[in-house]
């Protein structure tokens, strides 16, 4: 355990106070003079000094920090009936459903949605092939209202790729990846449309404000959230424009942060929500939008592949959707399961390499790339669903994780979970005879409603498909299992297979693995990382503490680099992590380019030391996806 010395910004170990007073005071003065990150060294009992990387107040609390003495830390607070964290499909569906019910029953209900993106839809990224079941329930007249579902699926293709060839696999009706009746959408535009529907109904949307902290009543139930503070400098000290975030109190708070939300991470610990489920397993999805040659364009065509360039024991595959949005647009991407074992694997470079397969190149040749992005997604399915309700709050959407992995669809289940949460919350809030034990409402009816709904049946039926990949034959074993058990039994087999454990624990040490030779990007089909990141439009206020916080600044070099050769340099799809030589001679240090972050959460998931804790940066920072 480390304490921070109250006199100087030096990390001290219990019973040992290595107190470099003059250096600290000089450093503090430099800090005040110009908000430039000083090379404040934290001295440890080991002989090497580690440059300070993390300055965030979640790691170095402000009440012990002398630079924060006397700062006004009061927060403005406001009351709502329901506060929803996250303006994605789940959050917005919940908001819309709440307002629909309120209007139906002629009740007043204040619903506030906070969203870290600067506009609704700007942080949304997905394939996506949307199953309209939930949408038909939520807004039956979506077509008249102009929902951007412009591309019904016309062709569905599945193949196994080898380095040079493509082996088509027939998609028999009944297999989960059959897409008849679904739509290819640009999910960012769909979410934007949902936002407009929500606003029309009177939902208060606040894009650009991130929920940074969960607030608790004295009885331990959730009181609401607080938005992020602004105006903190890169070194953690307050700037002139410092302002505290705002508190939003609610009777019940819905957390729809998407895959691996940072507040959900805290809630799991606080309320012990994961004690009876398996750890969540994840994948990273990278995506690009291309404008292709019109002659190659087949609107409505859906292509999926597995196999090359991944080996049979690394889960993953690709998608390529031809969209019908006026111009010859295709959405294509690559998904890699984050339980991969080789630390030299780079999901980004696998994606770029995949595009050079002859069958893919033929579609992309002559085209132009116009967008890029990445996001982690859930693969745990049924086995990994945690406890969903706790006093004062509920988890909805991809945050707890309702993705149907073999179908690769999670939007419809996320929306349905939001709707069910809204319905159960509404009846509880408007119940005049309610006697609640806790100040924040506890709504176990949500879980019961989910269990009775089609989400549960769907996820139960496909629960064994993903874990069936954990065998010697990997991909082929999994496909065999799906073909036999799923197609015949539809998941009715009495056993439930287990996952392999935490994704972060799967990496083998670098010395036991072979580095992978990736081809150089050619600038026409495949591209380098930095030009791709530029396309995501990501940006953050540069003078703020890096939001990729390390619990211990010395661990990256001591463990990640030493044992695993720094896998974060490779799995981050935005080039945030770099190991650079130390200015003072030999040795390396970790450099965090927080501005590049696209909020995919892969580092928080895959870090073998679980030392990286992603927290939310100042609101409106992050990618600027347009219809991804």
């Amino acid at each position: 355990m480390v304490l921070s010395c109250s006199v100087c910004d030096v990390i001290v170990l219990p019973f040992i106070c290595i107190f470099k007073a003059r250096r600290c005071i000089r450093a503090l003065k430099a800090v005040r003079a110009e908000h430039v990150a000083p090379q404040v060294y934290s001295t440890r009992w080991s002989s090497s000094t580690v440059p300070r990387i993390t300055t965030h107040y979640t790691v170095y609390p402000r009440d012990k920090d002398p630079r924060w003495e006397g700062m006004e830390m009061e927060r403005f607070a406001d009351e709502a009936d329901v506060v929803i964290v996250g303006g994605g499909p789940a959050g917005l569906s919940a908001a819309i459903r709440l307002k629909q019910l309120a209007n139906q029953h002629e009740k007043e209900l204040r619903v506030c949605v906070v969203e870290k993106a600067s506009q609704i839809g700007a942080h949304t990224l997905s394939g996506a092939c949307l199953e309209p079941t939930a949408l038909n329930e939520l807004i039956p007249d979506w077509k008249e209202r102009g929902a951007p579902l412009n591309t019904p699926v016309t062709e569905d293709k599945f193949a196994i790729l080898t380095e040079k060839y493509r082996i088509p696999v027939p998609i028999l009706p009944g297999l989960p990846m059959n897409n008849h009746g679904n739509y290819l959408v640009r999910l960012g535009h769909f979410v934007r449309w949902l936002g407009e529907q929500a606003e029309e109904l009177g939902v208060e949307l606040y894009p650009g404000y991130a929920a940074a902290e969960v607030l608790f009543h004295e009885d331990g139930s959730v009181k609401g959230i607080a938005t992020n503070d602004v105006g903190i400098g890169k070194d953690g000290s307050p700037k002139d424009v410092f302002e505290r975030g705002m508190e939003l109190h609610a009777k019940v708070t819905l957390f729809g942060e998407g895959c691996h939300g940072h507040l959900a991470k805290q809630l799991y610990k606080q309320f012990n929500l994961r004690e009876n489920c398996e750890p969540q397993t994840y994948a990273i999805g990278l995506k690009e939008l291309w404008v292709i040659d019109e002659k190659k364009w087949r609107p409505g065509r859906t292509e999926h592949s597995v196999g090359w360039p991944l080996n049979r024991n690394t889960y993953g595959g690709s998608f390529l959707y031809h969209l019908n949005e006026g111009e010859p647009l295709v959405a294509l991407g690559f998904v890699v399961g984050l339980d991969y074992t080789n630390p030299y694997l780079s999901p980004f470079r696998e994606f770029q390499r995949w595009k050079h397969h002859p069958s893919i190149m033929s579609t992309l040749e002559g085209g132009n790339r116009i967008a890029y992005g990445a996001r982690a997604l859930n693969e745990g399915g049924f086995q990994s669903i945690p406890k969903l309700t706790f006093p004062g709050g509920m988890l909805i959407g991809c945050s707890p994780g309702f993705m149907n992995v073999p179908k690769i669809k999670g939007t419809h289940t996320a929306m349905k979970s939001g709707m069910l949460a809204a319905e159960t919350a509404f009846s509880k809030i408007t119940d005049e005879n309610l006697q609640s034990e806790t100040a924040g409402l506890y709504i176990p009816e949500y879980k019961e409603a989910l269990e009775k709904s089609w989400i549960w049946k769907e996820l139960y039926a496909v629960r064994n498909i993903r874990p069936s990949f954990h065998n010697y034959f990997g991909l082929y074993g999994g496909m065999l299992y799906t073909g036999i058990f799923y197609w015949f039994l539809r998941g009715k087999e009495p056993w439930t297979l287990k996952h392999n454990g935490l994704d972060s624990a799967q990496l083998k040490p670098a010395k036991d693995c072979a580095p992978i030779e990736y081809p150089k990007p050619d600038g026409k089909i495949s591209f380098d990382l930095l030009s791709s990141v530029a396309l995501s439009g990501t940006n953050h206020e540069h003078d703020q503490p890096p939001h990729l916080t390390l619990k211990d600044d010395s661990v990256p070099v001591a463990q990640n680099l030493a044992i695993y050769d720094g896998p974060e340099q490779r799995f981050c799809p935005a080039g945030v992590y770099e190991y650079v030589p130390l200015e003072t001679g030999d040795g390396m240090r970790l450099q965090i380019n927080a501005q590049n972050c696209v909020h995919c959460k892969t580092c928080d998931i895959k870090d073998p030391s679980q030392n990286i804790n992603w927290v939310v940066p100042e609101g409106s920072g992050g990618p600027a996806y347009n219809g991804m």
């Binding site: 403005f76 600067s118 934007r192 424009v241 940006n539 600027a624 347009n626």
Partner: protein
């Protein structure tokens, strides 16, 4: 200063100019000028512009080459306008100014930008409705006519605008407004001080800093170093919802927004050619001769 060349560039070499200034591909004028009106005892009229966010690097030319794609692209208040709003609010906090009015010209979406200005501290907003084709061709001349008309109507004493919009880099609206109103102008202001009835403006010029004293009423355009804009915090955004925004049409102000300029073509900048490394001076001379440069 560079007025004639700027007007010329509007019709032709769009891209290059913007690229030089900001290293970004240019964008169609997406102006929602929001002048700040100040009352006698100064009413500040702010110009608030909604432009494509400066951090969005990839802008695409429309397939029909009449402009750039703006649909769905992240937009935000023009950074120089943010500085202008901040300056007006600071003047109000010093009690030198009675009322700050934020004005923006454009379609429905600019209401968001006005709300941001209100959240930063402006008292009320005016939304001049311009949409569709008119909006695509809205340029500095039309906007300054609108401002001039509004300034007279609202009896403003001080108009503060951002020095230029980061999408078209025209740097004309402030100057034109002053000319139409026959008011003095303090452009590229890095410091503004109100002294009795006069305004002392420190201007950033090529040679350094120039300090001028101008009479009120006047037009000031904000440069980068004027101040650091405050954040529009959530409680202020919520309060701003209660502040009033009036809707006005250009016709009501007697302004004709038809454009005198026609955009003939918008092209992407030419692909940068890679350089060639040579080993000796002799090789260099040979290569230069080959390229016909010497």
């Amino acid at each position: 200063m560079h007025r004639s060349s700027e007007v010329k560039h509007l019709a032709s070499d769009f891209n290059t100019r913007a690229c030089e200034c900001f290293g970004q591909p240019p964008v169609q004028p997406f102006e929602s000028h929001c002048p700040v009106l100040t009352d006698r005892t100064v009413r500040v009229q702010l110009k608030v512009l909604k432009v494509k966010d400066g951090s969005v690097f990839f802008i695409r030319v429309k397939p029909d080459r009449t402009g750039v794609v703006t649909d769905g692209v992240k937009h935000s208040m023009n950074p120089f306008c943010e500085i202008a709003v901040e300056e007006a609010v600071k003047l109000k906090e010093k009690k030198l100014v009675k009322e700050v009015v934020a004005v923006s010209c454009g379609p429905q979406q600019v209401q968001e930008t006005i709300r941001t200005a209100l959240a930063m501290g402006a008292d009320r907003g005016i939304h001049v409705e311009v949409s569709g084709k008119d909006y695509e061709t809205l340029g500095p001349l039309q906007v300054s006519k609108i401002f001039a008309a509004l300034a007279k109507k609202e009896q403003a004493d001080l108009i503060i605008l951002g020095k230029q919009a980061i999408d078209d880099d025209c740097n004309q609206t402030g100057q034109m407004t002053a000319a139409l109103l026959d008011w003095p102008q303090g452009t590229f202001a890095s410091e503004v001080t109100l002294e009795a009835d006069k305004l002392k403006v420190v201007r950033e010029i090529d040679g350094g800093l120039e300090t001028i004293k101008i009479n009120l009423p006047a037009v000031v355009t904000a440069d980068l170093r004027l101040n650091t804009p405050r954040y529009a915090t959530l409680p202020n955004i919520m309060k701003a919802k209660k502040k009033k925004i009036t809707n006005v049409k250009p016709a009501d102000l007697g302004v004709d927004v038809s454009s005198r300029l026609e955009v003939l073509k918008v092209d992407e900048p030419p692909q940068r050619q890679s350089g060639v490394k040579v080993e000796t001076v002799h090789d260099l001379v040979e290569k230069l001769k080959e390229a016909g440069r010497i």
